[in-house]
Symmetry: C2
Subunit: 129 residues, 2 copies
Amino acid sequence: MSWLDTVKWDRDGLVPVIAQEVGSNDVLMFAFMNREALAKTAELGRAVYWSRSRQRLWHKGEESGHVQQVHEIRLDCDEDVVLLKVTQLGHEPGIACHTGRHSCFFRKLDGDTWRNVEPVLKDPAEIYK
Amino acid sequence: MSWLDTVKWDRDGLVPVIAQEVGSNDVLMFAFMNREALAKTAELGRAVYWSRSRQRLWHKGEESGHVQQVHEIRLDCDEDVVLLKVTQLGHEPGIACHTGRHSCFFRKLDGDTWRNVEPVLKDPAEIYK
């Protein structure tokens, strides 16, 4: 039995994945993997996700150059969520978000308003050209 | 328009939620919220999830006493994932996992084997009695 069989894949054959930065412990992003993506991630030591919008494997950084080097792969108690410990490469400080921010979690609830509280480190027009 | 309308709820009316510990930045757990759970979380300053297995609101700590005090509520770029910054109450150090561990992400991939790498801080039989 493969370690991939331990993972409880959802009804779409996917597992939710949290990417956390080694060192800062910042939560960078959240995405999904299918079995092939998780196998590739372990094999390459680089994060490979499943793009639900494009319905294909998505090698993180394939367009942006913002590759994620994977140090650890963790699984939760229910075996249905994966946590990656990564170094966010390609820019200093690391940019994980397609908006050019360090982390995708840049909106903070302030009273009854979502406020953007993280700076754009690089113009997305410069990242995706 | 309510801040709750900004959230892109999935086909089941849920949003994935990551709970991260303030200070250590450890990722403690992953769960889901429906609209009512997220509204309650913001109102109470305590994490309230939606239990998919029990199909009801789940006030985190209602049985275990391991309540999560919520300091920040964040939303990601796609507005479909929530990140909570919490203090894990009820035990020192905090226990977020029903297995009695600090974090639910205690299995680490080592070659082709998942290994438990985090200690049990309290016997679950003592937590849920």
